[in-house]
Symmetry: C2
DNA sequence: TCTGAAACGCATGCTCT
DNA sequence: AGAGCATGCGTTTCAGA
C-alpha cells in the first residue's frame, strides 16, 4: 500500500512521469535503466498504491477563455468540524473553485478560482460564495500574472535529503 | 497558433486528456467520435499551438515525504517592474516554491510551497525568503488539510457558456 | 525480480473520399 | 478534414534465469 518504501528506481519513475506523463513505457524503462516489463509492473504498482494519483494534460486556461484567476480568502463564523466539512463540500460542487485549502491563522480557507471574466467571477462571488451560510468574510485577490506554476514536488530536494540520511 | 478557434471535438479532446492524460489515442478517438488518425493529428496540433502545455503524473507528495504545504504571502518594499521580475526569478530557482502568483491588493505575491517538514520550511523561510533583498513582509499559513485540488479548468462551464452565446 | 521472446494492440503514414 | 488500410513500434504476457 501507500507506505511501502520506494527504491531509487521507483523514485526515478515518479520523477520522469511527473515531468512527462505521456512518455512511453519503453522510453521510461530506458531512462530508469531497466527493461520494459518490470518498468510497467512498477508503474502499475505505483498507480495502485496511490503514489500516482492520475495523469492530466495541462491545458492553457487563458486561451480556452478562462481569462481570470482569483484567490479568495474565506473566514467562517463557526469553525465547528461539521461547519468546516459543510463548506468544503460546497467548494467541491462549485466548478469555478479549483482548489480549496484549509489554513491555520487568520483565514480559514484559501480558494483558487478560475473564471471566464471578472464579471462572471463577481456573480459567483456575490451569488454563491457570499450568500453561503456561515461565510463571514471573503477577501479576493486577482492574479495579475503567474510567475511560476510547477506541478508536483521537487524530486531533487527529495534525493539530496535521502543521500544525507539514508 | 494559440488563438485558432476550437471546434467541439477539440474541446472534447482537451477535456478527456485533462481528465486522463495517459489515455491511448484509439480510446480518445472513440470517445470524441472520430477515427484514430485525425484524432492524433488534432492532438498534435493542440500540443503545438500551446493549448496543451504538457502532461504530468500527479504524485502523492505526502507519501513521498513532503509532509507540509504552506502558502506564503509576500510584500515587497519596491514594486518597480525590475524588482518584481527579480523576485519572480528568485522564486523560479527555489525548488520548494511550486507556484508564484503576482496579486493585486495588499500583498504582492502568493507562493505555494512544499517541504518535507516544518523545520525545513522554517529554514527556507528564515534562510532564503526573508533574507532576500526587497522582501518586506512574509505571512505564512500552513495547509491543515486539502479539501479540493482539481487540475485545470471546468469544461462544463465552458460548454454551457458557448451554448448560450455561440 | 529481472531479462528475453513473442503475441497483440496502438501509432502513424499514405491514399482516397 | 475524415476514413480505411498497412506497417512498424510499443505494450503486455509468459517462460526461464
Amino acid at each position: 500500500m501507500a507506505g511501502t518504501r520506494l527504491d531509487p528506481i521507483d523514485r526515478k519513475i515518479l520523477a520522469e512521469l511527473q515531468a512527462d506523463g505521456r512518455m512511453t513505457n519503453v522510453e521510461l524503462a530506458k531512462r530508469v535503466g531497466i527493461s520494459a516489463p518490470p518498468c510497467l509492473r512498477r508503474v502499475r504498482t505505483l498507480e495502485e498504491s496511490g503514489y500516482i494519483r492520475g495523469y492530466h494534460a495541462n491545458v492553457n486556461a487563458r486561451e480556452l477563455g478562462f481569462e481570470v484567476q482569483v484567490f479568495a480568502m474565506v473566514g467562517l463564523a463557526s469553525q465547528a468540524e461539521s461547519d468546516l466539512t459543510a463548506f468544503e463540500e460546497k467548494c467541491r460542487n462549485w466548478p469555478l473553485v479549483r482548489e480549496c485549502h484549509m489554513l491555520n491563522g487568520e483565514v480559514d480557507f484559501l480558494l483558487k478560482c478560475v473564471a471566464p471574466d471578472l464579471s462572471s467571477f463577481q456573480s459567483f462571488l456575490t451569488g454563491q460564495l457570499l450568500t453561503t451560510p456561515n461565510v463571514e468574510s471573503v477577501k479576493t485577490s486577482l492574479v495579475i500574472r503567474p510567475a511560476k506554476d510547477e506541478p508536483g514536488v521537487p524530486f531533487d530536494v527529495l534525493e539530496s535529503r535521502l543521500k544525507n540520511a539514508p
